[in-house]
């Protein structure tokens, strides 16, 4: 990962060297935006977008199951409770038994909550890039999984004819 960062740093450096220093685009892109992004407010906004993305992806997976079950409220309430328990929203994940802690890492919002807590405690957003990438990867994985599940559920709902059952 360090090599990749070094590679991009070199590109930025060469771009700044080659461009005119008074170029407002250069100023905006490399000198103004990064410090602003490090402020608590914008960092929290970024975490909000990140958590929205991963929650949306997770919601996509669950929406697929609604094609074959009429117990929407049951599923949603149960999943809501499980997320409260396993994502560390109300208490640290370290309180959970070790065999359940790995399950927390497979859930959305676990890392977003961790980042948000860290930001409030004063840690810089740049320290959490690793967790941000992991959360993005998790969100993308949910979307890919949902696409496959949706195909299966569509076929199943056609064969069982349960789509209009309430």
């Amino acid at each position: 990962m360090e090599r990749v960062f070094r590679f991009y740093r070199r590109i930025i450096f060469s771009y700044k060297q080659s461009s005119i220093m008074s170029d407002w685009k250069t100023y905006m892109l490399f000198d103004l935006i990064p410090p602003i992004l490090q402020t608590l407010f914008f960092s929290m906004v970024a975490v909000l977008f990140l958590s929205s993305f991963v929650a949306m992806s997770f919601g996509y997976v669950f929406s697929c199951f609604i094609l074959i079950t009429s117990e929407t409220n049951l599923v949603l309430n149960l999943v809501g409770r499980l997320l409260l328990i396993f994502t560390g929203a109300n208490f640290p994940i370290s309180k959970l038994p070790s065999f359940l802690q790995w399950f927390s890492n497979l859930l959305p919002l676990t890392r977003s909550i961790q980042i948000a807590q860290g930001l409030v405690e004063g840690t810089k957003f740049s320290k959490y890039y690793g967790l941000v990438y992991e959360e993005l990867l998790l969100g993308c994985s949910f979307i890919v999984i949902a696409i496959f599940i949706l195909k299966i559920m569509e076929r199943k709902s056609r064969t069982t004819g349960k789509m209009e059952v309430t």
């Binding site: 117990e71 409220n73 049951l74 309430n77 149960l78 409770r81 499980l82 409260l84 328990i85 109300n90 208490f91 309180k95 959970l96």
Partner: protein, 256 residues
Amino acid sequence: MTVIIASAIVHMKQAIARSMFRYCLFLNPLCNAILLGLMYSQKSNLEFTLYAVLGTSLSSFWTIICFSSAADINRERYLGTLPILFTSPSGFKKIMFGKLLGNSLWGLVAFLLNVFFVSLLFHRFLAVKSIILLIMVIILAVLTFVSVGMVMCSVFTLSRSAGLLMNFIEYPLLLITGMVFSLDYIPLYIKWFSYFLSPTWVMEGFKLAVYGGDLKEMAIVISTLCTLTAINFMIAYVAFIRVEDKCRIDATLEMY
């Protein structure tokens, strides 16, 4: 009396047949027990008993009352049986009282299940100073929740947004009545409002049962709880009479 008991029994059978109610009865207490149990796991035995065992059990009880009272009226309306109940010779109030009594008995089951789950998962049992007071408060809690449910039912008979309202009132009441944390954390002006709600006094009763207290304090809590329950019943009675008139004038009982 026969009408009330028959209505309660039929309602209990109907309720348990629904998967969402089974969730409220079995899974919700389990999830509540895990959530509050882990939140209070580092606290003293007394605080753990008050919030993780009794508070969370009461919140499961409240969830059942809140969702059932509102949803029952909505369900009857959806099925088209609300006008039939309304015009029944036995009386709408008696039938609704029976339904709420059935809900409260299931709520009591959820309460006991919650206590069982916390004890099983965390190996921490009820650390109470006065078990008699605890039992008295639990019995009064059943009655007070029936009265709160009656008030809610009378309101939801008129409103067609029961689903929205029941979701809207569940969490705020959990927070302002001190079921999940101490009332010392909430602002003073909200605290004043909390003391007009009977679940707050149920929690005060639990606090006295857990931490102990003199007879005067116990008498104040019990008498306030009884008074608020009686006031709720009176409000519900007056509201039902008004609602009956309004329903006849507006004829909106069958509108879904």
